[in-house]
């Protein structure tokens, strides 16, 4: 890897590791100090490596410099050192000798501990996702602003507020205990699920960025299932869902960047390896008797990996959506259930049910009804597609809907 690529690459992979270790060492009150020390380390790397060439082992170099910078900082700020050494119940005699443990094991433990802090429900979902991208994924403010389609100032403020909230709530950065895992793992899974969806369903045109968000969410979820205490059926089900969804990533957009609908996708572009991984994690998830919404969603995603329409396929998908709605209502699940009903029981029955679900402010509701009325009552279909067109903000959706209207007008 060339030097110009190496630093951003190392920033992405190493920044978060060192930050997590230092955050865990310093405690929640001093996240910014940890971030500053690691940023300084990378700044020095980009200056020095440019002048003197790459060190033999760049990662080891970063770790050593980060350690030294931290020790220097602690020496210069003995008061701070005393405070944090009290917090970490430091036992040796001189506080200057604090050991900064950048072993693989401690890096992993620290990242998991940070995951539970970042995903703490005291912050709103959006703030949690921002923090996750920043502290767990090593995304800069600019990249996060890009992902959320907003400006740097807004993201900066959001992150500041979220960190402040963690401080005022005095959230401890520690390895969660068994009872804390039970209590807080669902919130962690929710954040990872939302982080993934942010990438998968974002209206953002930047495909590389969206893929990165999905990959990061998968990486973090994978960290959970790799840990013996966090390897729960729900975590496996979530990872399975992510694998199945990601398997279609390359077929969802054409070379012009336009959305390709499921039924028009080229199955050769579906990633078989990810489908197999999804099946593996779904099997892992079936151990025990928990049935989370991730199990049901992974089940639905599994059936979508076989493209051919069979009675069994849509019967199963309908059944899974029924279950999903019993666990948790969402408009999107209600709409998808109705689509599955049309496939399993015919359009007439689905129209009857669709008209009961009353989501007339939702563009997807009208798109669905437009779809269902097609070839049954084309005038009604066109009316619904026009409603959908007026309600959607996404340019990609507008294009798809307009094309459907045009097609119907030709008939």
């Amino acid at each position: 890897m060339k030097q110009a690529e190496l630093i951003p690459h190392l920033f992405r992979t190493e920044y978060r590791k060192i930050v997590s270790v230092l955050c865990k060492l310093f405690g929640i009150d001093h996240i910014e100090i940890a971030e500053d020390l690691v940023s300084d380390t990378f700044l020095l790397a980009s200056e020095l490596w440019g002048l003197k060439g790459l060190p033999e082992n760049p990662t080891a170099w970063l770790y050593t410099v980060a350690k030294n910078k931290t020790k220097d900082y602690l020496r210069r700020n003995s008061l701070f050192a005393q405070n944090i050494s009290k917090e970490i119940k430091y036992t040796t005699t001189t506080s200057e000798e604090i050991e900064i443990d950048l072993s693989v094991r401690n890096i992993n433990d620290s990242q998991l501990a940070m995951m539970f802090v970042v995903c703490h429900p005291c912050n709103a979902a959006e703030a949690q996702i921002g923090l996750a991208l920043n502290l767990l994924c090593g995304f800069g403010i600019g990249e996060i602003a890009n992902a959320f389609l907003t400006n740097k100032t807004a993201i900066y403020k959001r992150l500041q507020r979220a960190k402040e909230k963690l401080r005022t709530e005095k959230i401890a950065i520690t390895q969660p205990t068994a009872s804390e895992i039970n209590e807080r793992l669902p919130a962690v899974l929710t954040t990872l699920y939302l982080l993934y969806n942010e990438g998968y369903y974002s209206p953002n045109q930047d495909i590389t960025l969206r893929k990165d968000l999905c990959l990061e969410a998968m990486r973090l979820t994978y960290m959970l299932v790799e840990n013996e205490h966090l390897n729960t059926p729900a975590a496996n089900a979530l990872l399975s869902l992510m694998c199945f969804q990601s398997s279609r990533f390359d077929s969802r957009l054409n070379p012009q960047g336009e959305i390709v609908l499921y039924q028009d996708q080229d199955t050769d572009l579906w990633n078989q390896e990810l489908i197999e991984k999804g099946e593996y994690f779904l099997n892992q998830a079936s151990e025990g008797n928990t049935l989370s919404k991730y199990h049901l969603e992974a089940g639905i995603a599994y059936w979508h990996t076989t493209k051919a329409d069979t009675d069994k396929k849509w019967e199963c998908i309908l059944h899974l959506y029924n279950h999903l709605l019993l666990i948790e209502y969402s408009p999107i699940a209600a709409l998808n259930r109705t689509y599955a009903l049309a496939k399993a029981r015919g359009k007439q029955e689905a129209i009857k049910e669709a008209e009961k679900i009353n989501l007339s402010g939702n563009h997807l509701y009208h798109s669905l009804l437009g779809e269902l009325y097609m070839s049954i009552d084309n005038t009604k279909a066109i009316t619904h597609f026009h409603n959908a067109l007026a309600l959607t903000k996404s340019a990609a959706d507008k294009l798809i809907i307009s094309n459907k209207i045009l097609k119907l007008m030709e008939h």
Partner: protein, 113 residues
Amino acid sequence: MKDFLLIFRTDIAAMPKRSPEEMQANTKRWMDWIGGIAAQNKLTDRGNRLNLTGKVLNPNNVITDGPYTEIKESIVGYSIVKANTEEEATELAKECPILGAGGNVEIREISVM
């Protein structure tokens, strides 16, 4: 919106013996019906089935056994739905599979204590 208890009753003695396939088809009908209510965001509690046997405790510690063959209709299950009016709740109950199997649904508004 108010909560309404749906009570499913049927004549247990007259219930047909079902094959596994018929039982599966029956479960499917119930899931489709309850899923349809959930899709309208009008399900409070999917409820449960009740075992067909039980006991009745009367005053003076007189206990009798079920099934209650002397009563024509026994309660076999319940669900709780959300609706604005009794009429609306009744509308939700209209496609309940118990009606197709000779049973009935009682719709009662839950008056919160």
